[in-house]
């Protein structure tokens, strides 16, 4: 687990990544992990929620930022707050529910009660405190919060650049990703979560790793009809990986599905024929049917945002570091907010097919990551290689961005460059 030691002003940890090679300690050094929690998870913007998870006043969810438990609330004024889940008195968590709706958080230990904005409302038997004890001085500790297109981030760092600046070129891709709301908006429908015995950066790398897909996910591909299997031929469609700056990157596997509103007259794939007909039978016009069906299939890219959130084809992938050798992953299913119910059912079924602890894809990913953690115990002097990649196809990535072919490890190098910058900061 993380220690609470204050980091030194400078650190040599950044030396562990050089160019396109990483040191094995990146995955296995507990002291390095503690330093990462301080230098990265306490210094940059960490994703905590999608706006739809806080649907209305007095809603909340619990999560964590680095090792620290936090409470994400929408107060009665509609403002989102991110609060440390720690009573100001003697530190008990004030909420252990995953999500819900409530207008007050009462510490179960001595009954200190807090408003959703963190204000300390009342202290039982306050006569026992010296005169001058002012509850206003003891709100739940709140973090800096900002939101972009429904994605809510928080940071401990008052000096972090604005969220918009931090996201930078990733914002365009968030906007493209949210087109799978089909104009209704995007809503969280549920989530799968699991832990694997491996370092968090192994998962971070995987989000822009198309190279593993046909190998690790052969059994998923084999379960698809021929038309869909061709769609998931991720290495064969002229895709690319693009460094978006600040550790963020995008891997485009299916270029035809970058902009879901493009070419809506294209034939509806066979696997969506039943859904399309059911939507027509419900009375939706053909334009709506096409827009909804296209949205249901999701996008053709993974947007990986440093350090903990990805917009991954059709879901959010959140990682939570637990220890140097344990990581929690949430695969958050999303759908259309107020769109046709049948469309959301189809989204759920597609999500279940690949994702989660019993999906056709995730268990094999988790096994692979565990194998990395087991293998890295060997060979102190052998580097972790993230040097793969040839040039991106002409006319794909934005001019000026570092980019490589779809199977390149460009996204991993981008993440590690940010890692290095922050660890040296």
């Amino acid at each position: 687990m993380a220690t609470t030691a204050e980091p030194a002003a400078t650190s040599s940890a950044g030396e562990l990544f050089q160019g396109d090679r990483g040191d094995s300690r990146l995955y296995r050094d507990p002291a390095l992990f503690a330093e990462e929690m301080d230098r990265i998870f306490k210094k940059t913007w960490v994703w905590v929620a999608h706006a739809s998870e806080l649907a209305g006043p007095n809603t909340f969810k619990t999560t964590q930022i680095g090792a620290q438990p936090v409470l994400v609330t929408r107060d009665k004024a509609g403002k989102v707050n991110v609060l440390l889940n720690r009573c100001r008195h003697r530190a008990a968590t004030v909420c252990e529910k995953k999500r819900g709706r409530q207008s007050v958080f009462v510490c179960p230990y001595h009954g200190w009660s807090y408003d959703p904005d963190g204000t300390l409302r009342k202290v039982p038997h306050s006569w026992g405190y010296e005169e001058g004890f002012d509850p206003a001085q003891f709100p739940l500790q709140s973090l800096r919060v900002d939101e972009y297109n429904g994605m809510i981030f928080a940071t401990f760092n008052p000096d972090a650049p604005d969220l918009a600046e931090h996201l930078g070129a990733a914002r365009k891709w968030i906007d493209l990703f949210m087109k799978q709301g089909a104009g209704f908006g995007v809503k969280v429908l549920g989530e799968h979560s699991f832990r694997f015995p491996g370092n968090w950066k192994i998962q971070l790398e995987n989000t822009t790793d198309a190279y593993h897909f046909p190998i690790v996910h052969k059994t998923f591909l084999d379960s698809l009809d021929e038309e869909t299997e061709n769609v998931f031929d991720v290495l064969g469609q002229g895709g690319w990986v693009e460094d978006l700056g600040n550790g963020h990157s995008v891997m485009v596997m299916i270029p035809a599905l970058v902009d879901l509103e493009h070419d809506l007259d294209a034939p509806i794939p066979e696997r969506f024929a039943e859904l399309a007909q059911a939507l027509r039978d419900e009375g939706h016009d053909e334009a709506t049917v096409r827009k909804v069906v296209r949205a249901v299939g999701g996008t053709g890219f993974n947007l990986n945002m440093f350090p903990n959130i990805a917009c991954s084809m059709a879901f959010f992938r959140e990682l939570r570091p637990i220890s140097v050798s344990e990581t929690e992953v949430h695969h958050i299913a999303i759908g259309l907010d107020g769109g046709p119910e049948l469309a959301n059912r189809m989204r759920l079924r597609l999500h279940e097919h690949f994702q989660g602890p019993l999906g056709f894809g995730t268990p094999d990913d988790a096994e692979g990551w565990e194998r990395v953690q087991r293998g890295v115990q060997a060979g102190d002097d052998m580097p972790i290689m993230v040097n793969r990649g040839v040039a991106a196809p002409q006319g794909t990535a934005e001019p000026g961005h570092d980019a490589g072919d779809v199977s390149s490890e460009t996204g991993m190098r981008a993440a590690y460059r940010m890692w290095k910058r922050m660890m040296q900061g």
């Binding site: 549920g190 694997f196 119910e341 079924r349 279940e352 094999d364 096994e367």
Partner: protein, 173 residues
């Protein structure tokens, strides 16, 4: 390729025999042994064609068709899943963790000619990489009588920690 967008189906009993709890137990234990011994192809034959196998992500009585599940398998998905698990190409299942499970605490939830619904408790221990894990679940079974003997028609496995982080599971629950 995926299961239908429509709600789970069930089979209509074809044979009006009264199914005893002992008979239902025998089927449940046969299933448990087949799953522990990776007899997946034989396991497929325990099912009706209409049957659904469901593992929800939430405890409670929610409707699985409108909720996210860990697994929501009709006949076609069960067959594809078994193909995957037995292919040799799924890393998590080549080999999977070893498992030993017991199913007990049976209660008859419903009984009518040709049909019995049973609630039970399943305790499963898995072992891989020098590590054992325990997975506990409430399980409900709908079993129907057919010309070909008793068949599983619905199985819902509600994990004690359905709504908490699990781990990659390369076998069947």
């Amino acid at each position: 390729m995926t299961t239908s967008i429509f709600a789970p189906t069930t089979a209509t009993p074809r044979v009006a025999q009264v199914i005893t709890l002992a008979e239902a137990q025998a089927l449940i234990w046969q299933e448990a042994e087949l799953l522990d011994t990776l007899g997946y192809k034989a396991w497929l034959d325990l099912w009706t064609a209409e049957g659904y196998y469901v593992i929800p992500t939430e405890r409670g009585d929610g409707d699985p068709v409108v909720q996210l599940n860990l697994l929501y398998d009709d006949d076609a998905m069960r067959r594809m899943r078994v193909k995957r698990l037995t292919s040799g190409f799924a890393m998590a299942s080549s080999p999977p963790a070893r498992t030993v499970r017991t199913v007990s605490r049976f209660v008859v939830a419903a009984s009518e000619p040709g049909l019995i619904a049973v609630r039970g408790a399943q305790i499963l221990v898995e072992y891989k990489y020098d590590r054992t894990r325990i997975i506990a679940a409430d399980v409900t079974y709908r079993i129907v009588a057919t010309d070909d003997g008793l068949k599983l028609d619905q199985k819902v496995v509600t994990l004690i920690n359905a709504d908490d982080p699990l781990h990659g599971i390369g076998y069947l629950l």
